[in-house]
Point group: D2
């Protein structure tokens, strides 16, 4: 059994992580921390966990995280980078669901996140936890930077095209739509039901923190710079990301075969049949990314549709997938739940 | 392994049944029938099942249901009663998720469902599949009438009070609210998104088919007639039933203790702590019924709040629970998935 | 032209009041105050008002409200009672959309609102602004206490029955459902989209501030005490209240005729034809209350369905209706907009 | 007074048209036709119209449309082209909200709409009713082809750029999102609440009927061919279209000034301040199109955000705007209602 600790269990990625870990046959949940809610039963805050998670939140100071085999950080940005070193030094593996270790260029990180980075050397060591790209490195990683939700959906859609060198890397467009849970369990005006329901809007058009993360990932697989316009939108649903990706083809190729071959052995990337229109609900609650490839009107613009559940493949599910890889377990352990439809 | 057939797999109870059966370790899914969609891959209609259910719908005439150990009917009313006898005669057990075998009084059934009943004798044999009341009979049943969604939520809320004889049985009120999936996967105007979203309404105030079913069940546990006013409402969510139940107390009693004791050994009825306000999402995708007991302002009116997922404890989950009981399996097999929140 | 000031224009009742006042031919909007947002253009916060309301929020200290003919308070509880006297002394009429002047019993008010009342004598003077009951007093009022949203929907449903003396006043039940905007534009966890969407729950079962307000109003028309159980629920829509009301009839009566006669001359109460099932969307954005009367199964329980838009007839619209009455204008001025459906 | 007839009043554009016409001071509504619902009160089908529209639906054969001054067709495609000539010959003006007269190239129309066109010569005469482009021709038109919803939002966003010649016309991308009412009041599976709620998907990626309409309109203002990739999406809200438009700039220009000047005299196009993020709810129920201009990261990709209410500026509101122009009325008559927010 893997002794697991969760730092910051009161947000949406936190409760989703607990949902998945509660059903994991190899996990012994040791401690779930919360500074503000220490002492409260986790299942009092989240009655969905009644009967599954019966412990209270523990104050970080009493958490004894160093006794765990693995600690997940489901915290706001800036926390994990303060605490990771002590844990790693104690031999504890760390998966950080926040952005602290995602950007390799410290200056870029500091610009987008508005604070000084506490441990640049750990950034260098951290492995970006996108198994479809970095599975081998994840196996032996001590510290995994779990990807963001938009970056997961967008990268998985563009990767086959960039690896194959069949699109112009300078004019990529990612028009992405997210459910409101992507904004976190934060009491901000824009996240209110009466603000977000029956409404649709773009945000972060002039700059979103996931832009440098996506650009870095795409540049990595391309082996060169990409030019990306990324426009995220808020859509009135709870879970789900739908990324609509546009690129200009530079040569003829069987796009369907390209994608099917690239992801043939990936347990969580589903290349749908030609002509498919993936719906976000087809992955609700599940770790799958479903992708469809289109070339409208026979032109040279390729349109990729990529959907994930932002809280699963876009956060907690991918974190469990990384854990499974790091501990040598079958990769789909505790991740085989069928999506909830309708 | 239990060889299972599903008749009518294209509705919401059908796809939900498939979600649960696909994860059931003792079930070998043999056949899923659909007259209209025979030949279509089940996962083409419901992409959420890709990788989990890989067979096509089979035309009823080619289904060979008699080779199954158990057949579920997830069909409109009037189908199961036509086909149950042949299956039972062939030694196949039957769980009917429709209403064909729920009402013991044939005349009442025929009045509310507007057709002649095809096999009144099987009605007499059928066991009403509410495990919290009829577990022993279900164990040996050949034919189980799976309860309706409203009847499950309402009965579980009233039963302890009626069994204990602490409320006036003549003036019961059940004000129930259902998500739209309760209306089925039917192309009716009222079920359109643009009709049902951002809207709330009552329906069936002057008579709903679940009224006689609830009355029958409550009369059964009381051992006498009940007077019930049942008002169902449509609320703009996909899944979930919230029943708000009102009764007049006839004597002082520790209501919380009454409910806790009644359901102490029930795996799927969760009596929440005093003062709780159960939310439908706390059971989303799960087989639980969560109940809270209130006595507002210290008066003599008791208010019971009872929530279920109409497609799980209110349909497919309860059907699997009944199957587990009928086949001597641990009752929670394949029903231990944690609710999806948010 | 009536010179109008609005105190507290940043909440939902505030912006709704501005929507209605902007279209009012007899209103000259003088000032809209906000302590936190002084200087910000109103239309920057609410782009829906671009082109209709072109002034900034004014700090309360610079508002010169005493130069208005009428001031609306769309503020949290406890503000209007601090400021009303000065305005009244300056000859300004006041309509308070908060609860400060709704409860005539100061002790009850202080118990439910948790503070000392600043001006009990004004409570005695204030007229409860339900035109269907108090139209004559409103005409000459200096200070109107605009009713709460639930109280409006519930009272209009029960009034004809209580006035006619045809139901038992001791066992009234009001099962009410509200859209989330009823909770105000407040950054509280329960109001987040990801908490409130696709979810249904009761709240305030053991005591809600609108209970004493409803009880007071019903006792007023009855001329005696009523016993009321009031259970409010949160439903995932933005606007709308649906009250389902239950009472026990004490004698035979033509209920439809009773309601039609009672409201025959009311411009904003629509008694729908027998058998109707009013939907909240049928009053979306409009000042109407639609009511349907049912007597299920021919029993002695009467079921009244009453729907309003909580922000219009339940708040801002009723306030404008009161203003029209106070200033001798046609009662429907600026309130004749057709509901928005779908 | 303009004597107005409405053909096909049972859909969403129909009921929206009635909402607007009921409040129009110069309109005398003569007749509303429906073949299936003749005899039914309009307000029985749409209770929101109770007190505003008190006539029944009339069977087309009894409609005497030739006695009207103006007839609106709010019908499925293929109806208006059968009936327009007779009306025009009788001196009746016609505004067609369907697509029958939108595409000037008959062959293209017949390909996309799958039927033969009944009156190609009237297509030649018809004026495309986008006032921001064709106001002068609309003034004297007998027959107006009211634009589609997507085409309105997309064209208004691209027009200033194409007219100014500052983007490459070959690589335009329109990523558009629509509320479900855009699919009409049709009982199709995909439009069910339980299918469309809490879900997001693209559709029509390989070809949507609005693509040739948009291309025609953009080519018209450019004076040359455009290359457009158009991907529509279904988002879980009732009303609203959000078009996110991408183009490659060919030279430096003050984009904000360009848009402000282009639409300076347009009553219904609101160019928002730099940096704005228009929300669909900011135009809910109103005839406005709100536009914001972005140039992310200082690159050469321009991003235009354009929102409308698909049933108003995208259908019924624009039709009334066209009527006002055709009959010499102030253009905003009956279109000055403030958007409904929240």
């Amino acid at each position: 059994m893997i002794k697991v600790g969760v730092v910051g269990g009161t947000g949406y990625t936190g409760v989703e992580l607990l949902r998945l870990l509660a059903a994991h046959p190899q996990v012994a949940l040791q401690v779930i921390t919360s500074r503000a809610d220490a002492g409260t039963l986790v299942s009092q805050m989240f009655p969905s966990l009644r009967g599954y998670v019966d412990m209270p939140f523990t104050h970080p100071d009493q958490a004894h995280l160093e006794q765990c085999d693995l600690v997940f950080f489901a915290t706001p940005h800036g926390i994990a980078m303060q605490q990771a070193r002590v844990l790693l030094d104690a031999g504890v593996k760390v998966i950080d669901l926040s952005a602290d270790f995602r950007l390799r260029d410290i200056a870029i990180w500091e610009k987008w996140y508005g604070m000084s980075h506490a441990c640049p050397d750990l950034v260098a060591e951290a492995v970006y936890g996108l198994p479809e790209v970095n599975r081998e490195q994840i196996k032996t990683a001590r510290l995994v930077a779990n990807p963001g939700c938009y970056p997961t959906a967008v990268q998985l859609g563009f990767i086959p095209l960039l690896e194959a060198g069949v699109i112009e890397p300078a004019g990529l467009i990612a028009d992405a739509k997210s459910g409101v849970s992507g904004a976190g369990r934060k009491t901000e005006m824009a996240n209110l039901f009466s603000e977000a329901a029956d409404n649709f809007k773009a945000y972060g058009v002039d700059g979103h923190r996931h832009l440098p993360e996506i650009s870095q990932g795409l540049a990595h697989v391309l082996g060169g710079k990409v030019g990306l316009t990324f426009v995220p939108h808020l859509t009135p649903m709870i879970r789900g990301i739908h990324a609509t990706l546009y690129g200009k083809l530079t040569r003829k190729i069987d796009l369907q075969a390209l994608f099917e071959q690239r992801y043939a052995n990936e347990p969580f990337v589903d290349v749908m049949p030609t002509g498919s229109l993936p719906e976000t609900r087809s992955v609700r609650g599940a770790n799958h990314c479903r992708i469809a490839v289109h070339k409208p009107q026979g032109g040279d613009t390729v349109v990729i549709l990529s959907v994930i559940d932002n809280l699963v493949k876009g956060a907690a599910g991918q974190a469990v997938q990384n854990m499974n890889i790091m501990f040598g377990l079958p990769e789909a352990t505790a991740l085989n739940n069928v999506p909830l439809l309708p």
